[in-house]
């Protein structure tokens, strides 16, 4: 998968609350389909469908043990998705820090006008 389509697959997989809950559970350690299905009011086939999607997105892998096929979390694609969000956040945070400074200036100006209108002479 290209980085872009990997990211698409990751975000698609993360868009569903059941799949997010499954990932949260797997963050604690590997689990079988039966164990994963337990907390949800869902059939095993329904859970299996979610697991297939998570597996295709590379977010989980399944063990070879034919009986149990335990699922485990694959951390790398999640870390990459998180990385993109973090970069986006940093870009906007830089904008917003400039906005903080501007708002401080605007507040000071508004206060100066109010003080002047009230004829007060407030030395700080």
């Amino acid at each position: 998968m290209t980085p872009a389509s990997q990211l698409d697959a990751t975000f698609t997989a993360l868009a569903d609350p059941t799949r997010r809950a499954i990932l949260a559970r797997l963050a604690l350690g590997e689990a079988s389909v039966t164990e994963l299905a337990q907390p949800f009011a869902m059939s095993q086939p329904a859970i299996s469908k979610h697991l297939k999607m998570l597996e295709r997105a590379g977010l989980i892998s399944r063990g070879r043990d034919a009986q149990r096929r335990p699922c485990r979390l694959e951390a790398q694609p999640l870390a990459e998705a998180n990385d993109w969000l973090e970069r986006y956040r940093q870009l906007w945070e830089a904008n917003f820090q400039r906005l903080d400074a501007l708002l401080d200036e605007m507040k000071a100006q508004a206060k100066a006008v109010t003080d002047k209108n009230q004829g007060k002479n407030q030395g700080e």
Partner: protein, 163 residues
């Protein structure tokens, strides 16, 4: 000195990006800073090395806005749209489309300002035409900028270590 509240970025659905952040100012002032061109030019500069060079805003329903950012070596990035909803000083809904259209169609941006005890929470939701468009938005426009900002960080860390 203003205490900056952390900006959070989340993806509430597969077509949306939501940003929330707290500002230490009444919302009338934050609202003004969101649409007056002379104020926008002071903060909405984008990645390091870029600045908001051109900014026209007609804040009326059906009115247009247009922003053009200028970057290194004369690079330009333009974006514009139409205002759909305006509730002063709490809400602006507008369409957004980049000239290069790397988001595969128009996006819809909803800005909500909520005031609490003299501080203002900003919530900006952008709804993209598709999931691919949303993911593209998360990735584009910042490849160069991110590299530049990492360089600045490196310089800063180097300076701190030398001090």
């Amino acid at each position: 000195m203003t205490t900056t509240a952390d900006l959070t970025v989340t993806t509430p659905s597969d077509r949306e990006i939501l940003m929330t952040r707290l500002f230490d100012a009444p919302r009338e002032l934050v609202f003004e800073a969101m649409y007056r061109p002379e104020l926008l030019k002071r903060w909405l500069n984008g990645p390091p090395g870029w600045s908001l060079a051109q900014c026209e805003v007609d804040l009326t329903i059906g009115g247009a806005f247009r922003h053009v950012w200028r970057g290194p070596e004369g690079a330009e990035m333009g974006m514009g749209g139409i205002f759909r909803e305006i509730v002063r000083p709490e809400r602006i809904v507008r369409t957004e489309l980049f000239d290069q259209d790397w988001t595969g169609g128009e996006a819809l941006a909803t800005l909500v300002l909520t005031e609490r005890a003299g501080k203002t929470e900003l919530a900006l939701t952008v709804l993209y035409a598709s999931q691919a468009a949303r993911d593209g938005a998360l990735q584009s426009g910042m490849k160069d900028g991110v590299a530049a900002s990492y360089d600045q960080l490196d310089t800063l860390f180097a300076a701190q270590q030398a001090a």
